[in-house]
Symmetry: C2
Subunit: 486 residues, 2 copies
């Protein structure tokens, strides 16, 4: 036993998340310590070997006992189409359905084209409705038709309803399976109902009390377990609950789940009828996606739901090119300003040498401010009404920083013999103006974007640094041409 | 009733997260629709009014029925010390303890200094151990002593143990309260145990089976509820579970909880004894903190756990200055390169005008690549072993982008009369080199940082753009001085 633990620890020290937390087998529960015994891990290489050797039966068993669907989907991404279909067919239908939900859209299309109608039907039956809808949203129309034909009438109606919610709305990520109780039920009856309907884990931990389909209260399973069985639901239900609407942004709903530490949030429609729940596991994925989206936008990349490697070169180019083109052409303005000081540069060409340092420092100052404000907006700490408060803070920060940078840079210029005291002073003044402008522009633009309904993240580094370049160069040449009378 | 719903909807449309999902009162449960009736919201202004009017009893009642601790902590941040202590003393001790855990360290210190020993003892008693440890980690030594004196002997031993886990480790965020079962128990006995120990919500939904303190299995509450009561835990327990170690990074543990959609992850110590669990609500907060930290570092700001407004101007300056100073001084290199081409600039001063556009585009290209790679590393999609795969992808993207940018820019130069075809061609070649260098440097540095144990996020925009500035300017002047024989 200590051998296994040692192995676990060794793996852990290698800090390889994927391996160290791999589940152990539970094949033979009658042998007391069996599940702690040494056991070969089911890696990509091992699966390929077993496929090669046609050990399908062993592979099927291993896949069932020794693999999580989310990990398998990762591994299958590396496989070719034939291998993918082969392994998928070995899976028990529950595992198949769950693995399917974790795949990217290319893999899904391969499988949908390869599977027979009856196989497809089995997978669709096992999938949760919210996952089915996610799959359908990404598929071309002919595939959608085929998938819908593989579901029964009732499910089809529900799917069509879910498909109507706007993308990224709470309605589009919610789960329609939840436990609904009535106020007059006793605790014993409620527990009986949970036993009967079952469902998956997250969905039973909070039960919802409805009346004429309207949400009127909620009861934790914990409450049910720790209360006298003869009490009624009405006596123990919490009517003081949080809820969201189907049209809420998924990020807002996920933020509420995070803020209040909930397991699930009930969702009501425009008539305030309870229609589903958003569970904490989906909320975590939504928040991850949104953070990735924000970070991409902040770097001037159009966000995509695909992963880095899942995106083709052409798609990468398409998502990166627009901002680069826009910013490159905006830089024409800087160039025009500099060209108008051509004669000054001909007389004092060393003036050009300070330009990258000034614009670089300005860009960095601006991106610090814009990034902190964008993040503050994203986590709900900063709002548009804080505009003046933010500007006042940034101005004070900018003044302190600009004095320090100007002095350090001035000393450097004199020590390195790049200019005299007059030059050091002039650059210092420009530096101070640049820092203050950059910080104010950097903190203001994201707030304005938010106010006018744009994503604040587009106001990050690339745009800010281009704007700051323009202002820095204008200020710089205005100051130097005045001081040195060029 | 429809009035209240309309109000809710109106609030929702204003998209003010804090308000719209405010809980409704449950003061009088005997009145059927009471909790849906119109009711004034408990805002900051309202609390201040009630304090002013000395309506302490009404305020106490409102605070109990109409306010979540996390929201109250937000509101209290705006209050002065006297008001803070006054409101805090009105809270029931459970609410007081929970509100306390959501406060920032300044507010906590004010309260600790204002409360009597017995009041402090009550708060400490109600707090979960992991929260107590968080509080203690931030307090000066004399306050820690006073807090520890307010706890009983047993708790003190546990706290001291938790305090020894490294900051940001799983041990430091875990909850030591969980339900431990024995394998020979029946389902009925297990449910009885849950009834007896109770604890808070998240901690009961998965129960852990231990033997000689070692973790040997887990059982979902759902399993307990839907199985025959006479079965033993051994028969239904899942031995194929995930777990973490006390020394694991909190981000890794939170990532596992997100990836596998768990409610809680059991944590074992170096002897593999079960010592606690990390719950999904804490995991969400950890992931939020880590995302904020990454974003701050990527903007060249030293991360802090405090919020934007919770950080003083001096602290903001301290966290932003180091990178700005470093990058400003690095820009000296660019300046030295440009100065060495002083005579060329004197002859063709218009060459300087292209510098901001070239360095700007290079910086933006580099930051796109570095940001996508840093995020890929953070969510576990990209690893160091993917280095060549990433470079190959970025090179192909860079070549496509550079051709488009060079052509567009060349046409622009000729059209705007900023140069002849030769100039357009020269700038185009420089542009292409810049884009390719920027993309390769941008994608490589974060991977190398990860490999040598640094945070990849430090390799983001500010550093990349400074490096790209240097290489762009070297390449640019080398090319133009060759082409135009300067």
């Amino acid at each position: 036993m200590s051998e296994e633990w040692k192995k676990e620890n060794r793996l852990l020290e290698e800090s390889d998340e994927k391996r160290q937390h791999k589940p152990r087998s539970q094949e033979d529960e009658t042998d007391e310590w069996d599940y702690l015994e040494e056991r070969e891990e089911l890696t990509e290489e091992r699966i390929l070997e077993m496929l090669e050797a046609r050990q399908y039966k062993e592979l099927k068993e291993e896949l069932e006992n020794n693999m999580y669907p989310v990990d398998l989907a990762d591994i299958l991404e590396e496989f070719d189409q034939k291998q993918l279909v082969l392994v998928f067919r070995l899976l028990a239908k529950e595992e198949a359905a769950e693995t399917f939900t974790y795949m990217n859209s290319d893999m899904r299309e391969v499988l949908i084209n390869a599977l027979t109608d009856s196989e497809l039907e089995e997978v669709m039956e096992e999938m949760y409705l919210d996952d089915t809808v996610d799959v359908l949203e990404e598929m071309p129309a002919n595939v959608v038709d085929r998938l819908l034909m593989a579901t029964d009438e009732e499910t089809r109606v529900q799917i069509n309803q879910l498909l109507q919610y706007p993308e990224d709305s709470a309605g589009s990520v919610m789960n329609v399976d939840y436990i609904a109780l009535r106020r007059e039920m006793t605790v014993a009856e409620a527990i009986l109902k949970i036993r009967q309907v079952g469902l998956n884990r997250e969905t039973i931990y909070t039960c919802y009390v409805t009346e004429k389909r309207k949400l009127i209260g909620q009861v934790d399973v914990k409450e049910l377990l720790t209360t006298s069985e003869s009490k009624t639901i009405e006596e123990i239900m919490d009517t003081n609950m949080l809820y969201g609407h189907t049209t809420d942004d998924q990020e807002v709903v996920a933020g509420i789940i995070r803020k209040y530490g909930l397991i699930a949030l009930p969702i009501v429609d425009h008539e305030n009828c309870m229609v589903g729940i958003v569970t904490v596991d989906d909320a975590m994925l939504v928040l991850q996606e949104e953070a990735t989206e924000d970070i991409s936008i902040m770097a001037g990349v159009s966000p995509s739901e695909e992963s880095y490697f899942g995106t083709t070169v052409v798609e990468h180019v398409k998502s990166r090119l627009p901002w680069l083109l826009f910013l490159m052409l905006s830089a024409t303005i800087t160039q025009m300003i500099m060209n108008s000081y051509e004669s000054a540069l001909a007389v004092m060409p060393q003036l050009a040498g300070f330009v990258p340092m000034l614009t670089g420092t300005g860009g960095n100052c601006g991106s610090q401010s814009s990034t902190l404000v964008i993040r503050g907006l994203a986590v709900g700490e900063i709002e548009f009404s804080d505009l003046l408060k933010v500007i006042w803070k940034e101005v004070r920060i900018a003044v302190s920083i600009s004095v320090i940078l100007a002095v350090v840079n001035g000393v450097r210029i004199v020590l390195m013999g790049q200019g005299d005291a007059m030059m050091a002073f002039t650059i210092g003044v420009t530096m101070a103006c640049t820092v203050i402008i950059a910080k104010v522009v950097g903190c203001t633009l994201p707030l304005i974007a938010k106010k006018v309904g744009l994503d604040p993240a587009i106001m990050a580094t690339p745009l800010i640094s281009t704007l700051v370049d323009i202002s820095t160069i204008s200020v710089y040449f205005a100051i130097v041409s005045y001081v040195f009378q060029l």
